[in-house]
Amino acid sequence: MFRITDEPIDPAACRRALEAPAAGGFVAFEGWVRDHNEGRAVVALEYEAYATLAEQEGERILEEARQRFEVERVGAVHRTGRLAVGDLAVWVGASAAHRDAAFAACRYVIDELKRRVPIWKREHYADGSAAWVGGVGHEHPAG
């Protein structure tokens, strides 16, 4: 299941939802707020989602992973709101009979999620400024 939430993500609960007796391998990816980006000190991140479309597109990605790889279960949760350094922003997991499929599915979901799901983040820097992350930035218009 793909979920957008403004509450803290519980990785243990996410993991339990992917248990299956036929699964011998499980791979999880977690995105954590790190203290730097492109050489700048980051103190917080703010995530915003276009929730309706994000959940639809996220479900589509999970379904693609189920079709492409021999998995038992896949799931993902993305947090929104303001997060501090060390906080869990996104959780992706896949269980499968064999580890190849679990690794491949987990990687596929996080890569596609980052590319396609309408979620944005604004970085807050140690110097008090902030900027949306992506192809264009408020502070440095691409125009």
Partner: protein, 81 residues
């Protein structure tokens, strides 16, 4: 033909526009025309390789026909995760 279109703004576009949402009375036939009409082309000239658009909560073509009552959302490059 004149029609009403709801536009919701997220992230960068909300900052640029200074609001979450608005209802526009417009003759724009497509999302592309609506985007140009909003005059965001100065700082953010439409880059259809990087930007996407959704109509009624589904990804849509920049050249799809807009109908009265449609909901449009402009989607800047995403950065989840």
């Amino acid at each position: 033909m004149e029609k009403q279109i709801d536009v919701h703004y997220y992230a960068l576009f909300r900052d640029l526009r200074g609001k979450d949402r608005e209802t526009l009375t417009t003759r724009a036939a497509t999302p592309r025309a609506l985007y140009d009409e909003l005059g965001m082309g100065g700082a953010f000239r439409l880059d259809t390789r990087a930007f996407r658009v959704a109509v009624n909560d589904a990804f849509a073509s920049w050249d799809a026909p807009l109908r009265h009552g449609d909901l449009v959302v402009f989607i800047a490059p995403t950065a989840g995760g």
